[in-house]
Symmetry: C2
Subunit: 432 residues, 2 copies
Amino acid sequence: MADLNIPKTNAERILILGGGFAGLNLAKALKNKGKQVVMLDKHNYHTFQPLLYQVATAGLEPDSIAYPIRNIFKDYPNFYFRMAKAERIESEKNILHTNIGPISYDKLIIATGSETNYFGMKEVEQKSMPMKTVPEALNLRSLILQNFEAASLTVDLKERERLMNFVIVGGGPTGTELAGAFAELKSHVLPNDYPDLDFRRMSIHLVEMADKVLPPMSKFSSAHALSYLEKLGVQVWLNTAVKGYDGKTVSTNKSELPASTLIWAAGVKGNVIEGLKEKEDFDKGRYIVNEFNQIGQHQNVFALGDVAGMSTKEFPTGHPMLAQVAIQQGQNLAKNIIRSDKGRSYRPFKYKDLGSMATVGRNKAVVELYNKIMLKGFPGWAVWMLVHLISLVGFRNRLVVLLNWFVNYFSYDRKIRLIIRPFENPFMKKSE
Amino acid sequence: MADLNIPKTNAERILILGGGFAGLNLAKALKNKGKQVVMLDKHNYHTFQPLLYQVATAGLEPDSIAYPIRNIFKDYPNFYFRMAKAERIESEKNILHTNIGPISYDKLIIATGSETNYFGMKEVEQKSMPMKTVPEALNLRSLILQNFEAASLTVDLKERERLMNFVIVGGGPTGTELAGAFAELKSHVLPNDYPDLDFRRMSIHLVEMADKVLPPMSKFSSAHALSYLEKLGVQVWLNTAVKGYDGKTVSTNKSELPASTLIWAAGVKGNVIEGLKEKEDFDKGRYIVNEFNQIGQHQNVFALGDVAGMSTKEFPTGHPMLAQVAIQQGQNLAKNIIRSDKGRSYRPFKYKDLGSMATVGRNKAVVELYNKIMLKGFPGWAVWMLVHLISLVGFRNRLVVLLNWFVNYFSYDRKIRLIIRPFENPFMKKSE
């Protein structure tokens, strides 16, 4: 089947891999610009990753943070979506090979994001839980609840404690927000469900290699986030590195933490695709790109967002892997493509830091806007919610999320404690 | 582990299998009556089955029609839930064996509901889609969307048509409501997503053995439902029986229907458990019970709802398998248990028919209340929605469903078109 059944027209074909923040913003900005835009993604939906942790902790339905890609582009002429997995780039021929066949391109944009990075620790990879996709978040939700069902059944107190302990590795926004959500499950939600368990035995550990949580944020934010976490009862281990995990005990350079569940939020690496031969294209799992997001010598192959390693004076080891970088790079590339059609030259990418934020719990968040305004407590929390609501794709999704947040706030509850598909890790031994 | 880690007290232990309508209503009515109530279910949530078809057709999130059982009973003293699958009853010893161990009981109540009945057609069972549980509804949702993704890729017009055809077997409420929902997907939703497909080629077939749809309802309702279905473009095959299905073509006694998807809503059978030896306990897959829901000679073993075959003058072949029967039998048994504690005798079950209803599409429903009031069109549709909203478990669920219905109604859309876990049938050959 030629070109995934997409007609070849005179219009330049822009092939975008990935419907994340970068790909979405690039494609949107190319509407009615005389291009044929083809987007591939292995999922048929865009995932709003910043709220995945609330799916994992039973606060939001998965369906309200995901949005069908075809629906986003339903009014876009000459736009094609295919659910496919990219397999290999044949850049000499301008062809991409996918699991459903080859497709040719005029420009190829790799916006495949990142995947969990275990830094080569095989055992940790097999036995810990990642949380980068909707199915992974649902697996984690199931596992948390399955652990408590199992804890209700065991008479071995050590085993019960292990089932009730959760170790989160990585004190960035994901790990910090997740740890806070676990703490709220512990204090408000789970004790109602499991009256026969003693919740003083449940521990939530947050392990971070640096000397503070939220390392890229200011001292102000890190210090407040740490104090929020401690108030909520999270045990924070700074300057601590995980050495191994056998499925029962997490070994660190400081101590051993017994826990049936290890959640790995300690690092990501670019989700690169086979086929680009230049070795210098790869740096810590990202494509090295120039200031126009071009990869190496390939004039018509670009990388955006997490998978692009653009080194500048300000960011010598590449831009941070953040939604804002991906969005802005997508928009900049669209502008450049349009400029070049008009005979103008590409403009280099310039990152505008709008700020960063993290929420730890109800009325507890830290927010930095434009590197000037610092917020914490309730005002920070309100801004955090507002920004996330606005950024969500889809009117229905915003309404449903808002409604859930209202109900959760006033009921102190998380209603979506459903084990719809039980999680089974083929590497984990079942404890009977 | 003794008794699934549940303490043995002086209180009589009522062991309820199944958190469906019957089990839920029985357990609720036994609150503070001096009993130890133990409920087992293979899921940790109650499923509101009447709205499953909207989950399958991308209209509702699965999480809003399911509700965690532990949460329902959080304020019930001496209530215990265990996520477990019943395996075998040892009635001589008053013990139930489960996948997580044995448990003893004083009274055992089997309220395990029903499962899809293929009437011995193995090939149909392997190659068709059931829709009795939340995971099954999600599988169907994924498969529908996967079919259209595949149809976009194929150049073989016959294959494409097959992928766009859906055969629903069974013209009861489930089949009728599902066919209507498919018709709305066809007319309002899918053409936006797949502009390169010709939707005149999509067919929805509803196959029913009887000479009318909604067989147990009145002529008035059946005739109107049929006319609604035909208006929406559903091809209704009455007096038609399915003979076989090879995954590509449905053979009936009338004709052959090419379709990659066959949805089986043509029958259910009681979900009985191994171990009760009396053969007369089984009739078409249900336990034969007396007017007190007792099974055979077992004074302390009861069956409720779908799995109970209670034959009366009015219902010589057993009561219909309806939510209302299950609810009322659960309530009646609770009353009888309380009566017997006070030395009074059991009262026979008497079914109060509150009516029945089915919705075919927007502003199109048929409703019969108390066998007196007949509604159709918009009034019927409004009553249908109201009754289903009230019957849902949980305030949050009601709000979210109401919100989704509003959005769906005014946008003519179904937003939850997500393939979160692709469906793979091990028996089906993948079409490349």
